[in-house]
Each structure stands twice: as C-alpha cells, then as structure tokens.
C-alpha cells in the first residue's frame, strides 16, 4: 500500500492508503474523501476529478495524453499543475504524493 495526501480547499487533509495501480480518483472515492467526483468512472471524459499536484511530484508523473489535455482545458480554475486524477495510477515511487483539491468540480 502507498500513501496519498488529499488536501481539500479548506485545508482539511486526508491521508489515505491506496494499493499500487489504483488511480488517485478511485483512491479518493473509495475512502470517502470529499471534493473529487469522478462522474465518468475514470474514462477521462468528464473533468470532475481535477486536482492540483504539489510541485515536487509533478515531474514524476506520466505525461498527459491528448484526452486529458483536452478535458483539463475546460476545468474551472485550471493551473499549470492541474491533472485529472483518474489518469494518475499510484506506484511505489509516488508514495506520499500530495494533491490539493479545487473549490468545486465542474
């Protein structure tokens, strides 16, 4: 199991253990972390699993695919460190990854 830290918009932090291979989106839903919706179930088709990845973790992630870039373009409050969490699968070398959540999903 590897650790993910989700920090809500009001700074409430949730530390969660997730099995490698599980997406950050599923990690949030499975552990009742509020602020990530995942309406499409992880198909990169809705943009409602939008997170901000803390800087030091960003470069360790796999590059974004075309669909993710496209959907993020429409996400409210998208920033350079925005990612769709359904596209980030947990691995050992992401242990402790910290992501911040937007004020709401759109």
């Amino acid at each position: 199991m590897v650790k993910v830290i989700y920090i809500e918009h009001d700074d409430t932090a949730h530390a969660v253990e997730v099995a490698p291979g599980t997406s950050l989106m599923k990690g949030a839903l499975n552990n009742s972390v509020p602020g990530i919706d995942g309406d499409c179930g992880g198909e990169c088709a809705c943009g409602t699993c939008h997170v901000y990845v803390e800087e030091e973790w960003l470069e360790r992630l796999e590059p974004q695919g075309q669909r993710e870039i496209e959907m993020l373009d429409f996400a409210a409050g998208a920033k350079p460190n925005s990612r769709l969490s359904c596209q980030i699968a947990m691995r050992e070398n992401l242990d402790g990854i910290t992501v911040r959540l937007p004020v709401g999903q759109h």
Binding site: C46, G77, V103, G104
Partner: protein, 421 residues
C-alpha cells in the same frame, strides 16, 4: 414529415420485427413504451441502422460504453453537422449555429467564454438567490388543493433562474420560457409551432430583444450575467455581427437550462411519490438529497439523445458507418444498460455510483450547466423537506410528444404537510 399515428401493433414490443423499430418516433416517448424498444436494441443490435424512420435514416447507439466512445471521439463523430445536434434536423439555410454544434477549435473558445458563469465559484454566489426564490414559490403554494406542478413550480423556478442568468427584465421572464419551448417543440406535437419556417420567425423576435440588451451591456463595465460576459469576451463579442450564430448561442443558453431542469424537477416529484419506500428513506435521512438528485437525472434522462455526423468512413463495434451518416447516442437507453449500471431499472436514491450516468453527456460537450442544474434540484428538495411538505401526484402526468425532450407537459398534484390527510 407526418405525425405517426399510434399503431396498435406497436403495443407488443417483442413482436415488432427488428428492422421496424424506430426510436425516433415521438409517440413512443409520449406513451412511455420506448424503454422496451431500447432493451431490444441493446440486446439484438447495439449499433442499429434504421432507414426511413420518423427522423429519416440514422444509426442508434444504445449501450452505455459505446455511447461514451462516440461522445469522446469528436475527430470522427462531429458536432458540426449544420443541421443541429438532435434528430430533428433543421434545413441548413435555417441553421442556428452555437458551440454545441461546433468542433474544436471554435467550440472550445466559445464554451470557455460562458462556462465561468456556471462554474463552482459563481454557483456559490448564485446559491442564496436560488434559495430565496425557491422559498418564495413554496411558501405561496395552495396547500391541500390540486394544481399543476409543472406550471406553478417547475416552469416558474426555472424561468426565474434563467432571468437571473441573463439579468433579463424580470417582468418579461415568461418570454424566455416561451422562446425555449418554441426552439424545441416538435412541429407535429399540436403546439403553436407547425413548421421550421415558423420556428425561425418566432426566434428572430428573440434576436431583436437580445440585440438591444447586448448593445446596452457592451457599453457598460463587465457584469456577471451571460449577456455582459458574451459582450466582453474576445471569443464571443463579434456575435451580433453574425446574427444566426448569435441566435444559436442564445437559444443554446436559454434552452440548455430550461426544460431540462424543469422536467427533472417534475420527475423528482413523480418518482418520489411513485416509489414510497424511497420517499421514506429520504425523509428519514435528508442528506440523501445529494445522491437522490443524480439518480433522478439518470432515471429520467431529460434529453433522450444527442446526434453526431461521421466525418469519415469508420468501423465501430463491427458496423460499417459511412461518412455523412447520422449517429445518435441514446442517453435514455445507456442509462438503463445493465452491463454498466447495476439493477438499472430500479430507482434507488442512495445507490453507489449514483453520479455515473449519461444524462449530461461526456467529453468536451458535456453539459456546461450540470452543476447549476443539480444545485437547483438540491435546493428545491432541501426546502421541501425543511417545510415537511409531501407532494402527492393525483393523476398520471401528460408526457411530452418529442423524441428529444423527455418530460411532462403537466402534472396534477396536491401538497400537504407530511402525515396529514
């Protein structure tokens, strides 16, 4: 196109030959038999070509996962059809282009110009106004007497919401509802619009009114209403110079948030009354409104479909689709696909994964107003529950004659305090 008289042979869904199934027939939605036909299509022909239906020749995609694939593949399945994005094609010379019927890059620029008004931050500002308007309507209900919920609540609340979004003169707000209905109604439904030419003429009056409002707002500093936002955004401030595109975008914004939300409000009342165990569950735990709202949106599916056109020949799930073919994603069918949703024909207000449904579509065209719709529904039910009100449906509601709008023209109800006669 002639209206199709209800054929008594259609009464037995299982006996209709596959080739004769026509999901574009508005009667099937008005009499609520469409579900049986979609069940058959999902099993027997999940990618089904119908020639010579009510709405002409078209492919029907009826399974949940196939629908997501089409919705997210805009390179092949284009929205830039020039005949609109429903089965009810407009003649090309009457096209009213809006970003819903565009592909990237133009789609993206125009969507992003209006998206902020219904984004999470702005919803926080809109919330209190929605609550006070909802409270006002509910506090003036005739308790104990029959009335039409559709007219008195669903239409009234959604009209007030639209007037707010546009900062439209409040006393004229009924015109917004009228124009929205004009934009959509089936020409064979027996309503005031009987031809595309007539529809176009009525909507041109809407154009005049908005052009005047636009001219005022363009000369003022930016304000958080749709007209001002479009008048100031680089991607949309040209619109009055391209009147048909202007009309299309106005129509999109007025219609988008109008009968969809209206019909879902009505549907929520209908389902909670019909399924008393769910109603009891909700009353015992009012927090369940949060999952009840998406479940209603799934179960009703206020827009039955969206149409695309194939930009090139392609093979999809073994079927050869030709360039130019119309391809219809039947959200109403996909939302009852048991291969994607467990026990899909059951209305369960706290089902796991309630938010996973097709009613808003997926991909870059996903309904931009989806959170605003949910917010209005959430507030309606919060306020009903807070007031301890029970809404009894007195007769089967009259369903809309349409292959796109899945809703109710009227619904006779009585409102009382919970537990009283």
């Amino acid at each position: 196109m002639e209206a199709i008289a209800k054929d008594p042979r259609m009464a037995d869904v299982s006996s209709v030959p596959l080739a004769q199934i026509d999901p574009s027939n508005p009667s099937l939605f008005a009499d609520d038999t469409i579900g049986g036909y979609f069940d058959r299509l999902r099993k027997e022909a999940p990618i089904f070509y119908r020639k010579g239906g009510y709405s002409g020749d078209f492919w029907s995609v009826t399974k949940y996962r196939d629908i997501i694939q089409v919705d997210t593949n805009h390179d092949v399945f284009s929205s830039e059809t020039r005949t609109g994005i429903t089965l009810n094609d407009r003649p090309q010379e009457m096209d009213r282009p809006a970003f819903i019927a565009m592909d990237p890059p133009k789609h993206d620029e125009q969507r992003k110009a209006v998206s902020p008004i219904v984004a999470p931050e702005n919803l926080l500002r809109l919330k209190e106004g929605i609550r006070s308007r909802t409270a006002d309507v509910l506090d003036n209900l005739p308790l104990g007497e029959p009335f039409d919920w559709v007219e008195k609540i669903s239409i009234e609340l959604t009209t007030r919401m639209l007037a707010t979004l546009f900062d439209f003169p409040y006393e004229d707000r009924a015109r917004l509802t009228y124009w929205s209905d004009v934009a959509h109604m089936d020409i064979n439904a027996g309503g005031p619009i009987k031809s595309e030419a007539q529809r176009d003429a009525e909507l041109s009056k809407m154009l005049d009114v908005f052009t005047r409002l636009w001219e005022e707002r363009a000369n003022l500093p930016p304000q958080p209403d749709l007209i001002s936002m479009m008048a100031h955004a680089p991607a949309t401030r040209h619109l009055p110079r391209t009147p048909r595109e202007f009309l299309g975008n106005l129509q999109l914004l007025i219609v988008g948030g109008n009968d969809t939300t209206r019909n879902t409000m009505s549907a929520s009342i209908y389902f909670l009354d019909k399924f008393r165990a769910e109603q009891a569950k909700l009353r015992a735990n009012p927090k369940l409104v949060a999952t009840m709202v998406p479940e209603v949106i799934r179960y009703q599916t206020p827009l039955t479909h969206m149409k695309r056109v194939a930009k090139r020949d392609t093979v999809f799930q073994g079927q050869k689709i030709h360039e130019g073919d119309r391809v219809v994603m039947w959200y109403l069918s996909g939302n009852r696909d048991e291969e994607a949703i467990e026990n899909p024909n059951a209305f369960i207000i706290d089902r796991p994964g309630a938010r996973q449904h097709l009613s808003f579509g997926f991909g870059i065209h996903r309904c931009v107003g989806n959170r605003l719709a949910e917010l209005q529904l959430q507030i309606l039910w919060d306020e009903l529950l807070r007031r301890d009100l029970q809404v009894e449906v007195l007769d089967e509601p009259v369903r809309t004659y349409s292959n796109i709008i899945h809703g109710f023209n009227s619904m006779n109800v009585r409102v009382k305090k919970w537990g009283t006669k």
